[in-house]
């Protein structure tokens, strides 16, 4: 009996020794000198996995383009780019750990922020402590930037820049819209944007007849939708991630719920939303931080917006959306900042980012004193004929807002 136990313990100890040895054998020092390493903590597994894939596509496209052009030139010398990915399993604390690991173990030069507002905020505490410039591709909530951090920059404007133009254009095109029903996923970003919507609606004299949130992982919206139907709102505003919105839209059709305006954030910008819904995606409006129809002549590696779209299509055989574009932009911005600073020194690159004032394929980029971008005009768009069509702002408008979602 006793020998048995001893053997078991020996195996356990052996396992531990093996584990430690495995850890020690990992790359712990920066590799060759002529490589710039950028760390990217992403939720590659877990509920946010689909978003992580998009981010990764954006980063990869940029890295590929940068390396194809010979790399980033720093003071006359060309550096190749390498992106170091770590999976944080859609778990915020893991994101914090991953960020520290990237800085202290993988010795990355710079960082991309974790996905979304919550994780980006939590992880920024670490990057700030180590003074590593961080570009967050998908953090929009202004609370992320109110900590007085100097090394965090974000490429999404605050949430209200989405809802305000949306409300204005609906009010201009459909003055009959008097009642709005808002249904939000009980989760950081979807809830924050729903609250902004509530404010915008009230500010514009639209009555909010329904405001409620649903739990993460809700499998059925039929009861809630029946209730919304009975209130007969002219505008239905639903927030969530793509799975929630696919389900909600399907159930709206099932229940024959119609309204002049139906807005969903943040799914319709994604090609798979349109693919999955087919004709029932028609006339759904949404807003996003970027749209492939935009026409900027950028000074970054991608140049014109159309060039970025083409490169993206060639590589991934699908239309880019704002998440992928923003990720690619973050790479392009690092490149611009490094080239401007002429150095890989983190403080110099940080200063170059802070001073940045440049037009990119994504639009004009200039960061406010809190680090959040303040130079963008997010477009409002609508699915028309199976394609997203920009209806606002005027400069890049492709069509008018159509009423009636059946």
């Amino acid at each position: 009996m006793f020998r048995f136990r001893l053997r078991r313990r020996a195996i356990a100890c052996g396992g531990f020794a093996l584990a430690v040895a495995g850890m020690a054998g990992l790359p712990s020092t920066a590799s060759a000198e002529d490589v710039i390493r950028i760390g990217a903590p992403l939720p590659i597994t877990g509920p946010l996995a689909p978003e992580a894939i998009k981010q990764k596509q954006g980063y990869d496209l940029w890295a590929e383009q940068a390396n194809k052009a010979g790399g980033i030139s720093v003071g006359g010398k060309k550096y190749k780019v390498e992106i170091v990915y770590v999976d944080y399993q859609s778990n915020t604390p893991r994101a914090v750990q991953a960020t520290e690991q990237l800085i202290t173990q993988d010795h990355v030069n710079f960082l991309f922020g974790a996905f979304g507002s919550g994780a980006a905020k939590a992880a920024s505490t670490i990057s700030e402590k180590y003074k590593v410039p961080t570009l967050a591709a998908t953090a929009s909530s202004s609370q992320v930037y109110d900590q007085g951090y100097k090394y965090l920059f974000g490429t999404f404007t605050p949430n209200d820049t989405l809802t305000t133009p949306l409300t204005k254009i609906v009010k201009a095109k459909a003055p009959d819209v008097k009642k709005v029903a808002i249904l939000a996923r009980n989760d950081l970003f979807p809830l924050a944007i729903a609250q902004e919507m509530e404010k915008s609606a009230k500010a514009n004299g639209i009555e909010v007849v329904f405001f409620d949130k649903y739990a993460i992982g809700t499998l059925d919206h039929s009861a809630t939708l029946s209730q919304i139907k009975s209130l007969a709102p002219q505008w239905i505003f639903i927030t969530g991630y793509i799975n929630d919105l696919l389900l909600a839209r399907k159930q709206m059709v099932d229940q024959q719920i119609k309204a002049p305006v139906v807005t969903m954030i943040a799914g319709p910008a994604y090609q798979e939303f349109i693919d999955a819904l087919g004709p029932s995606a028609e006339n759904i409006s949404s807003a996003a931080w970027w749209h492939p129809a935009e026409q900027y002549d950028g000074k970054d590696i991608f140049g014109k917006t159309s060039n970025f779209v083409k490169l993206f299509r060639d590589k991934y055989k699908t239309e880019p959306d704002y998440g992928q574009a923003s990720a690619a932009l973050c790479g392009a911005l690092f490149q611009l900042a490094i080239e401007q600073a002429g150095s890989l020194d983190r403080d110099k690159v940080r200063d170059a980012l802070a001073k940045m004032d440049v037009v990119t394929f994504f639009g004009p980029v200039k960061f406010g004193s809190n680090g959040q971008i303040n130079s963008l005009d997010p477009p409002v768009f609508q699915i028309q004929g199976g394609k997203p069509v920009v209806v606002f702002p005027q400069a890049i408008k492709q069509g008018d807002l159509k009423l009636g979602v059946n």
Binding site: P50, A215, N243, K250, Q255, G278
Partner: protein, 288 residues
């Protein structure tokens, strides 16, 4: 009118929940195994339906013919090769084993199918029927009908066939069944196979209704838990009653106290039921 609509919604949803839970209930009842891989099997079934429709345009209800034997084989082999080895171990071991298997299957699906949400959208769409202001979506009705047929078939199988009687015998009294010469290990494998087949068929039907992604497996599993406890274990009618009860609580709860409380309510109900009536609405006491 709202009340009628909510009740009809709940009735249809309840049958779908029963369909999700029935295989889980069977395995729990007969093998005394909490089968955590159930949710992922449902998702795998949904991918099968989605893939066949995208690829050669086979309608989901025809896919059932392929799915049932395929998933039966998967389940049978899992039980024969893996679970039977630890079936006599404490509760914790079998549960943890299925947890490990679930991690593997789920990760494999994320790896091969990506985590993107997909949707099986029939063209032309089936639409909805409207009866005096109450709207019922046709695809849900069809899924419900098939769910009822499946549960009916299972009921007949357990009642009428020799194998089915053996399964029931093992469920009721394991030791007596052994004494009567029932090959328990093979009955276990058959029961697990049946559970897997029901999961796969449920997945095929759910493909019509819910977005498809490996990430939804835990939601299915959660529903199966609640349905089983509410309705009672291992019985066909119990799953149906449990499903209806759950859907009703969720639907009415969403309207009365708000949709964010609907899930909380169902889990609270589950705990209360466990404490005051662990045998479920219809089940019998036992299976500890």
């Amino acid at each position: 009118m709202l009340a009628a609509q909510v009740l009809v919604n709940a009735a249809v949803l309840g049958c779908l929940y029963a369909c999700i839970a029935i295989g889980f209930s069977l395995v729990w009842g007969v093998l005394n195994v909490i089968n955590l891989i159930h949710g992922s099997l449902i998702v795998l079934g949904a991918y099968l339906a989605w893939g066949l429709y995208q690829w050669i345009g086979v309608l989901p209800w025809y896919v059932l013919v392929v799915a049932a034997p395929l998933f039966f084989a998967i389940g049978y082999l899992l039980q024969r090769l893996l679970l039977n080895k630890v079936i006599t171990a404490p509760v914790l071991v079998t549960l943890t084993l299925t947890f490990g298997l679930d991690l593997i299957l789920n990760n494999a699906m994320i790896y091969f199918f990506k985590a993107d949400y997909r949707k099986l959208t029939l063209v032309p769409s089936l639409g909805s029927i409207s009866l005096g202001g109450v709207v019922v979506p046709v695809d849900r009705v069809i899924a419900t009908a098939f769910a009822l047929v499946l549960t009916g078939l299972l009921y007949l199988l357990l009642r009428r066939s020799r194998v089915g009687r053996a399964v029931v015998a093992v469920r009721l009294d394991h030791d007596a069944a052994v004494l009567m010469g029932v090959d328990v290990k093979s009955i276990y494998a058959i029961a697990f196979g049946l559970g897997a087949a029901l999961a796969g068929c449920a997945g095929v039907l759910m493909a019509l209704i819910f977005p498809i992604s490996p990430l939804t497996s835990s939601a299915y599993l959660g529903k199966a838990f609640v349905v089983c406890v509410l309705g009672g274990l291992g019985s066909v009618s119990g799953a149906l009653v449990g499903g209806l009860a759950l859907a009703l609580v969720e639907g009415v709860g969403a309207v009365v106290v708000g949709p964010s409380y609907a899930t909380t309510l169902s889990f609270l109900l589950l705990i209360v039921f466990l404490i005051v009536r662990p045998q479920g609405l219809l089940g019998r006491k036992g299976f500890e």
